[in-house]
């Protein structure tokens, strides 16, 4: 976002990320232990309480996508025998590994001391870390977060998770880091996490305003970055979200819209709710297709993959392990389909949307299988028209600008026509 206005929060985020990547690069020398894990169900506070650094391969993959590196990585993985049908995050990661393991910001990524397989909301995660284990020959600890098949976290499932944390995850972290479990440190982090979560939620809720001072999808992807990566539960994280909240509240008070790559979007003609991950390889172009038409996304489901905070959940320091279980269970991709429909319908209503859009992503069955039913159910329930477009996470071959633009334009004109009650 080179030509966007430099908000202080953006600068903070850049610094945080840069220093984290530097630490990772030094880790082989400094001896800081490194734990790889996943965004859904990320136990950042626990990992950091052991003095370890988290690495999130999904985030590496999406950043490789944004920097146009993923196409080559995927080709490399396919040459090594991976099918064209499977998740492109995995292929991007494998390809990056085989190409020297230089992360998207150009620094070398350290090998993991532990793969924390947070099996939350996605089957592919299991395979991903089985594959990485072969490459890295390091220990893996499997944390099974049961799926909310019936729409709730069942008490037995919570017990199962607690037991795993005590008997598997914590001992594995102890072995990998050489340190003992420090519950006080964990509680402290969880307190900081809750603070930051309050601020994040205030930012997310700002999308309810007219005009919306945030973009709840493209813009929010940046906002949730620190929360979903290494900074939830840290003082830097708290500072970031406090700053961000202030900025958003200032914009809201001044009746301003979000900053997009092409400048502020104050004249908002369409308010949309979006379901599905964004495309990363053409992220800016994709965003532009919305902002050019004056479309602002007021809420999204993807922004809850790393945790759903806007319905009241906060990390609770008083119950450190229980709260981790609660947190993991509530991540978006762990929710059942009816709950996803409910969330979309609720957002459409609470955020006063004019419509909703589903970005169906080829790679990701967890999101995509069932989206056509979600489309019809949400339309039925809310009476709002839904748009349906198709792309991919990080495989540039699966983003067709003309095709998507055509569908988007048709959709916006459809909304216009509905508004006027006749075609014009």
């Amino acid at each position: 976002m080179a030509d966007a206005l430099k908000d202080r929060s953006m600068l903070l985020q850049k610094e945080m990320l840069a220093s984290h990547m530097a630490r990772l690069e030094q880790a082989p020398e400094t001896g800081e232990p490194v734990v790889y894990t996943f965004v859904p169900g990320n136990l950042t506070e626990l990992i950091r309480s052991f003095g370890a650094l988290p690495v999130l391969p999904e985030i590496n993959a999406l950043q490789s996508g944004m920097r146009k590196l993923s196409g080559d990585y995927i080709a490399e993985a396919e040459r090594a025998g991976h099918s064209e049908d499977v998740c492109t995050y995995v292929k991007c990661d494998i390809g990056m590994l085989r190409s020297g393991n230089l992360g998207p910001s150009g620094t070398k990524l350290p090998k993991p001391d532990l793969l924390l397989l947070s099996y939350t909301g996605c089957y592919t995660f299991m395979k991903w870390f089985e594959l990485l284990r072969e490459e890295y020959d390091c220990p893996v600890v499997f944390f099974h977060v049961p799926y909310q098949g019936d729409g709730v976290l069942e008490p037995e499932h919570r017990t199962y998770m607690l037991r795993q944390l005590r008997e598997q995850v914590i001992p594995a972290l102890e072995r990998a880091t050489g340190r003992k479990y420090d519950e006080d440190a964990l509680r402290h982090s969880l307190g900081l996490a809750a603070e930051a979560e309050d601020d994040l939620v205030a930012v997310l809720h700002a999308g309810k305003r007219r005009p919306s001072p945030i973009d709840g999808y493209f813009g929010t992807v940046y906002y949730v970055g620190p929360m979903f990566s290494a900074f939830r539960g840290t003082p830097e994280g708290v500072e970031y979200y406090r700053t961000l909240r202030q900025e958003v509240e200032e914009r809201a008070a001044a009746g301003l819209g979000p900053i997009t790559p092409d400048g502020p979007l104050n004249d908002q003609r369409y308010r949309l709710v979006v379901e599905g991950p964004p495309n990363w390889t053409s992220f800016r172009d994709f965003w532009k297709m919305f902002s050019d038409e004056g479309a602002v996304v007021v809420a999204s489901t993807y922004s809850k993959v790393g945790g759903t905070y806007d319905f009241g959940f906060r990390h609770n320091p008083a119950d450190p392990l229980g709260t981790l279980a609660d947190y993991c269970s509530g991540c978006y991709t762990n929710l059942n389909l009816p709950a996803r429909v409910d969330m979309l319908a609720r957002y459409i209503q609470e955020y006063q949307a004019d419509g909703f859009l589903i970005n169906s992503v080829k790679s990701c069955n967890s999101f995509s299988a069932g989206q056509l039913l979600i489309l019809r159910e949400v339309e039925k329930r809310t009476g709002m028209p839904g748009a349906f477009i198709e792309s991919d996470l990080v495989d540039p071959r699966y983003f067709s600008a003309a095709n998507i633009k055509n569908r988007l334009e048709s959709y916006f004109q459809m909304i216009d026509a509905r508004r006027r009650g006749k075609t014009a």
């Binding site: 090594a80 025998g81 991976h82 099918s83 049908d85 499977v86 998740c87 995995v90 397989l117 099996y119 996605c122 089957y123 592919t124 299991m126 395979k127 991903w128 089985e130 594959l131 284990r133 072969e134 020959d137 893996v140 499997f142 099974h144 049961p146 799926y147 098949g149 019936d150 037995e156 499932h157 017990t159 199962y160 037991r163 795993q164 008997e167 598997q168 059942n336 389909l337 009816p338 996803r340 429909v341 169906s360 080829k362 069955n365 967890s366 995509s368 299988a369 069932g370 989206q371 056509l372 039913l373 159910e377 198709e390």
Partner: protein, 388 residues
């Protein structure tokens, strides 16, 4: 009964998309229920003990045009859920009072939620089979899941099974597993006497008929095979890996056999032999069943492999156990579990010098020419250049 008679019986069940046999069973007794399950694994003993006929739902293969089913899925998702939805939307699954969805992959997982929305009157349960390698926590969790199922199913059928009932069902499915082991052993030892096409039809029949009937027919078949030895051919021995969920069309299996290969092991309809050993009859049956699962040695794509060398070694072990010459990786298009596993499995196989080929299929593939060619060439190359 002759071999042909049993195979015809099996074929009728396989081709019957209306589940006539199951419907007949339901009609014959008051309060009987039918409970469906998707691939790969479901605790059928629990269904059975609760008064349900377990009915395996494997889609409609190439036997039904999917029109409505396609409306629910984008083009990059496998074909199985489309034909399952087609069956459901056309009323063919209205015999089911419950449907279980195991944790095979995200598509099956999400299908459980779709079912709740589409058929709110049907009991739906997602069965999250434990993946943690630690037996203690896995056992506690899994036992809890089974008890939950027993409770819920009992509400529907009006019959919460006693320990006695459950032991009875376990014993019955132990028998079923045994006769399937016998079938697989016989085929492994004398594949010329036991064509895979026939074995396959039997297995599929076993998914939609009462277990007693299947066991009876399977034993008849075994006896008939002993009485009807066939000529041995100079075929290569192969194992087929990857077809544990969306099933290949029968034509594909036939094509492999007719191209000079004996299939001496496979993972077709894997769920019916998921538990490698018999479940013990002693002690608390729920715990016994749960433990049998947790301590089960079966290794497959849909279960986490706790052993770092497990994937690398698996193909070598399976090939050795079957005295096979090579591996055919046959996976459905877009199948995450099979396709993501494959590089690890194949890598391990090739390191041990085991010949492999790989291709993709869909349950409704109509053209078999390419499979014939590939399998035929593979068989020839094994004979020319040697297998393992």
């Amino acid at each position: 009964m002759t071999r042909t008679e049993v195979v015809d019986w099996a074929r009728n069940q396989y081709e019957d998309l209306d589940f006539t046999a199951a419907r007949r069973w339901l009609a014959e007794g008051p309060g009987r229920k039918a409970g469906g399950y998707l691939p790969v694994y479901a605790p059928r003993e629990v269904l059975h003990a609760s008064g349900f006929l377990p009915v395996g739902i494997y889609g409609a293969g190439d036997m039904l045009e999917t029109i409505r089913g396609d409306a629910f899925y984008q083009s990059y998702i496998c074909h199985l859920p489309r034909s399952v939805i087609e069956l459901a939307q056309s009323g063919r699954l209205d015999l089911l009072s419950a449907v279980l969805f195991p944790s095979t992959c995200d598509v099956i997982r999400n299908l459980s939620g779709m079912w709740k929305l589409l058929y709110p009157d049907v009991y739906v349960r997602y069965i999250d089979v434990p993946q943690v390698p630690d037996p203690a926590s896995a056992l506690e969790f899994w036992e809890g899941e089974l008890r939950r199922l027993l409770h819920d199913l009992g509400q529907i059928s009006g019959r919460v099974p006693s320990d006695q009932d459950l032991r009875g069902s376990i014993a019955l499915y132990n028998e079923m597993r045994k006769v399937i082991r016998d079938l697989y052993r016989l085929r492994r030892e004398r594949p010329w006497d036991l064509p895979t096409e026939e074995l396959y039809l039997l297995l599929r029949a076993g998914e939609v008929t009462p277990p007693e009937e299947f066991v009876l027919q399977a034993r008849r078949y075994l006896a008939a095979v002993e009485a009807d030895p066939r000529r041995r051919r100079d075929n290569s021995r192969v194992i087929v890996v990857g077809a544990f969920c969306e099933q290949p069309p029968l034509g594909l299996i036939k094509s492999i056999e007719r191209s000079g290969c004996y299939i001496v092991d496979d993972d077709f309809v894997l769920g019916n032999r998921f538990l490698v050993r018999d479940v013990p009859a002693e002690g608390d049956p729920v715990r016994a069943l749960a433990r049998a699962f947790v301590e089960n040695e079966l290794r497959t794509a849909v279960r986490y492999e706790g052993d770092p060398d497990g994937k690398k070694r698996l193909m070598g072990e399976q090939v050795a156990a079957a005295s096979a010459d090579g591996i055919i990786f046959a996976t459905p298009s877009f199948c995450d579990p099979a396709l993501l596993d494959q590089p690890m499995l194949r890598g391990g196989a090739e390191r041990e010098g085991i010949p492999c080929i790989a291709f993709k299929y869909a349950e409704n593939t109509g053209q078999f020419q390419q499979y014939r060619e590939q399998a035929g060439t593979f068989s020839d190359s094994i004979k020319l250049w040697g297998g393992t």
